[in-house]
Symmetry: C2
Subunit: 366 residues, 2 copies
């Protein structure tokens, strides 16, 4: 900490390991394969921490990320993004060296895949269970059938099953809403399994968001779980009631550069280029970009939500504080900020440092 002079993303390895272990055990308890999403950390070293717990299959969100982890020894990867047909040659190259699964949700991409796949590729059909971002609406079995027909044209392609991302749990207003979105998705997927498992006895069901993977207790009929964020968690997950503050493994350490007593504001070196710009609504109705931890007598104190990161410009952050805490924070101090969305914050930084001082490089951006 004493060597930090500019915004630095600190990662608590012990907390990460606990988060991984908890999810691994949960998957074991429910007889699920855990195929964690690696887009949150994007780091080979953090990937190694998963290997200790027997994880050998992963999820990624881009060809670039698949290539990066493949080159770091991962050989069973699901590319959980609608197939980008412009990247077919790189996908074929990847499938030559590792077990690769891709996602389809439309006939156009299925035709290109069937026409161009030159190596064995597993195919999941992406099902929209209510998030309304991507996927085939669960009831549209006509579209499913026609895509399956196309897949049969190329013997390199294997239909692996149905996959969903219940992303609407991220905007749930209560844990009950998470339970109900999850259960609704579960029922929709099971209905599809009932319909298709005779023809495709090996087919599986894959679900994946961190909120439901963390707190739900019914995975009946599900084969695979693909959460990602849980390795770090963040304020968004805490706000959803999905994790404790003590489960959040990443914090941004930022130097204090100015104080403005008339506004009870502290200015930090730490802005949109460090945190990204996701927000939560604070208890006062304002936008919150992060919560504040200060050091006092060698102790770390999490300040209440009257003290919060309230504004970000490119390199500046503005912390609103109460008059009491205003006096305790000085120019030249380091404060810690718990980020709203750890995936985007880590992606911004491109590297992290463990609390033990180990440097963790993330994958290159291009």
């Amino acid at each position: 900490m004493t060597e930090i002079t500019r915004p630095t993303l600190i990662i608590d390895k012990e907390v990460c390991l606990q988060n991984i272990e908890r999810m691994v055990k949960k998957a074991e308890n429910y007889n699920l394969r855990l195929r964690p999403h690696f887009k949150t950390h994007q780091a080979a070293k953090v990937g190694e921490w998963f290997k200790r717990f027997g994880i050998s299959q992963i999820t990624v969100s881009s060809v670039l990320m698949a290539e990066y982890f493949a080159s770091n020894g991962w050989n069973d990867i699901t590319l959980a993004f609608p197939l980008n047909i412009l990247e077919m040659s790189r996908i074929n190259r990847l499938a030559d060296s590792i077990k690769l699964n891709v996602l389809l949700e439309n006939r156009e991409a299925a035709e290109v895949l069937a026409g161009k796949a030159s190596n064995k590729i597993g195919v999941y059909l992406k099902i929209d269970t209510g998030y309304n971002r991507t996927g085939i609406p669960a009831g549209r079995t006509g579209r499913i059938d026609s895509i399956l027909d196309i897949l049969r044209k190329n013997s390199k392609l294997t239909f692996k099953g149905f996959l969903t991302h219940t992303g609407h749990t991220y905007t749930a207003l209560s844990t009950n809403e998470i339970f109900s979105s999850h259960f609704d998705a579960l029922l929709k997927l099971k209905k599809l399994k009932n319909r298709y498992h005779k023809e495709y006895p090996g087919m599986e069901l894959s679900m994946g968001d961190t909120p439901s993977a963390s707190i739900c207790g019914n995975f009946d009929g599900i084969d695979e779980l693909r959460p990602g964020n849980f390795v770090f968690y963040d304020l968004m997950q805490h706000n959803l009631g999905v994790c404790e503050i003590s489960d959040i493994a990443v914090k941004m350490v930022c130097p204090v550069v100015a104080k403005h007593v008339s506004r009870n504001e502290i200015v930090i070196y730490g802005g949109a280029v460090h945190f990204s710009k996701d927000t939560l609504q604070n208890t006062d109705g304002k936008q919150l970009y992060g919560r504040v931890i200060i050091s006092q007598d060698d102790e770390k104190i999490l300040l209440d939500t009257k003290n919060y990161l309230s504004r970000l410009s490119q390199e500046h952050g503005v912390i609103k504080v109460t008059p009491t805490h205003f006096k305790q924070i000085n120019v030249g101090d380091l404060v810690e900020i718990i980020p709203v969305h750890s995936c985007l914050t880590a992606n911004m930084m491109g590297h992290m440092i463990t609390t033990e001082g180990e440097f963790i490089e993330m994958m290159p951006k291009y």
Copy 2:
């Protein structure tokens, strides 16, 4: 274009050169020194384009950025960020090899600077002219005097003048509001010049935001202009009435990966990790993350605001379109998106490609 297979930030060099030339001429007309802010492009190659127009002095927003441009031949740099006293040793190292100016706004940092500056450093006092982010409120001459007293303790330090960033022009609701914020800032700075120029005859006034630098016509008493965004411009500036769409030099080219006719939505490969998350309010009151250009018969067509980038997750973007345009855009097409905030978008990408195909690397993130 035909080689693009994933989100790619394209920069039109001709448009950049026009933007630079226009601002250079404006500065000449008003007898101002142009010290452009390089945080927008963060690229040595783009910096070279400024040199053609005689630019030799620049502004940056971090020590890291100062080091990067110093190592690329720039030897007169203003570090326009409140002095981060934790980086004093690097600041001293920089000041050993180039002409460096720093910003002060409080006594605490002034004391550290006076105590530790071991090479010649120019000092601007940051004045808050109404943006309420950083700076000494213009009327607080007591604080100004006490900082100037501290600076006198170290003969390496030279008071260079007063500097402001009229950042509230970015949230102006009309060009009139930009004019009035700018004029108000101008009067506040001139009042300070009147008060201090006898004691400091060499002192200057420096202003800097792109909105007022682009459209205002009164710079009486001002010595230096420090806009940055104008080199690229973006939708935010266009929305403010500060530039034409044709002045915007950067566009993100993104592959189309899915279509959902029931929602009139097009899904692109291009998300928060490419665009960052700044938004504008669209004509329908919704959040807009970018505007859409499609190619038709070798022609580029900017779609109206009924067609817009409406949602971003980590790697996905969702474009809302009218039924007519829905039919014209197909899976596997490339669409161009004009970003809301080019500084943050370019920062996200870490590189750009010119319309002529030249690769432009930006500064490293750490």
